[in-house]
Amino acid sequence: MTHKPLHRFMLGVLIFFPLTFFLWYISATYHLAPITLITGKLVSIVVPDALMWLRLDGHMLVLASNFGHDSTGMIVSPPVGDDVLGFHLNPLIYSYSLPLLAALILATPSARKWSNLLWGIVLILPTEIFSMTFSVLKTLTFDVGAAFQAQQSISSTEADFIALGYQVGTLLLPMIAPLIIWVALNRDFLLHLAPQWEQSFTR
C-alpha cells in the first residue's frame, strides 16, 4: 500500500471522476438496458395491466401506459382510442451512482481493483432497479392519477409509500449506495487509513 494513501486516492478521484462520468453518459443506452428490462418485468408483476411497455430512447426512458383519454378528456382504462398515455423519464438522475462508485473504486489503491469494480457494478444494479421501479410507479400513481389508482385499488397510504419510495430512490439512494458499497469493498484501504478501525471490524 502506498505511503500517502489519502493523497493518492484524492488524486485518483480527480482523474477518474470526469472519465467515468463521460463513459457513463455515452454508454447510457447499454448500462440502462438491463435495468429497464428488469424494471419492466417487475412493474408488470406489481401492477398488472397498467404498463404497456417500458423502453429506452437514447438515455431517456419511455413509459407507455395502458391508459388513454375518452372523448371528454378523462383518463380511462382501457383506452378508447388508439393513443395511450406515454411519459418520458430521465433515468440518469439516479443512475449517476454508477460512475461515482466506479471512480471511487478505480481511485482506491487495491490489488483487487478490477474485481471490486465488477462487484460494484453488480451490487449497484439492485439500487438502480429500485429507483427506476419507484420512478415508474410514481409516474403511474400521480401523473396517470385517479384512473390508475382505481384500476389497481391503491389506497392513499400505498400512494404515500410510493411517493416515499420515489424520494428515497431518486434523492437518497444514488448518494448513499455508492459510499456503502465502496466501504464494504475496500476494507483493506480503510484499515490502512485508520488502523484503529480494526477494533470496530473485529467487534
Partner: protein, 170 residues
C-alpha cells in the same frame, strides 16, 4: 464493519425520517434554505450587482433568470450522511464534534459554490446547467462528505502513533 454499517444506516434512517417531517421542514429546512440563498446572493453581489434574493430564490435582475434552492440542493442530505458516519465510528466525543464542524464548513462551502456556479451556468447554457445540476454536483457533494470522513478517520487521536508503529514493524 457490520456494526459500523448498521449504526450508520440506523442513524441515517432516523435523521432522514426526521428531516422529512413537515414541522422540521417548516422550522429548520426551509429557513436554512433561505439563509443559503441569502448568503450565496450576498457573495455574488461582491462581484455582480445584478443579483437579488427572495426566500429560497436567487434571481438575476438583468435577464430574470432565477434558481430556486430545493430539497436535495441545500447540503442537508450530505450533512446527514456525514453525521451518521461520524456518529457510527468509535471516536472521542470532542473529536466527533470537531469532525462535524469541519464537515459542515466543507459541505456548505462546496454547496455555496454549487449554487453560485449553477446560477451562472444556467444563464449561459441550459444543457450545461442540467448536466451539472442533476449529475455532477450531486456526486461532488457526496464526494466532499466522503473526503471529510476519510481525513477525519486518518487523523483520529492516537492514529499517527499506531500508523508509525505499523510502518516500523513492516
Amino acid at each position: 464493519m457490520v456494526r459500523f454499517l448498521l449504526l450508520f444506516l440506523l442513524v441515517q434512517g432516523v435523521l432522514f425520517g426526521v428531516e422529512m417531517l413537515q414541522p422540521v421542514q417548516t422550522a429548520v429546512i426551509l429557513p436554512w434554505t433561505s439563509v443559503l440563498a441569502d448568503v450565496s446572493g450576498w457573495l455574488m453581489t461582491a462581484f455582480d450587482p445584478n443579483v437579488a434574493t427572495a426566500g429560497k430564490v436567487v434571481r438575476s435582475t438583468v435577464n430574470g433568470f432565477a434558481v430556486s434552492i430545493e430539497p436535495g440542493c441545500n447540503g442537508v442530505e450530505a450533512m446527514i450522511v456525514l453525521l451518521a458516519a461520524i456518529m457510527a465510528f468509535p471516536a472521542p466525543f470532542l473529536y466527533k464534534l470537531t469532525g462535524l464542524l469541519w464537515g459542515f464548513i466543507a459541505i456548505q462551502g462546496m454547496n455555496l459554490l454549487r449554487i453560485i456556479s449553477l446560477f451562472y451556468l444556467g444563464q449561459w447554457s441550459q444543457a450545461l446547467f442540467d448536466w451539472a445540476h442533476l449529475y455532477i454536483w450531486q456526486a461532488l457533494i457526496m464526494l466532499d462528505a466522503l473526503i471529510v470522513f476519510l481525513v477525519w478517520i486518518r487523523y483520529l487521536p492516537g492514529q499517527q502513533r499506531q500508523t508509525k508503529s505499523a510502518e516500523a514493524v513492516a
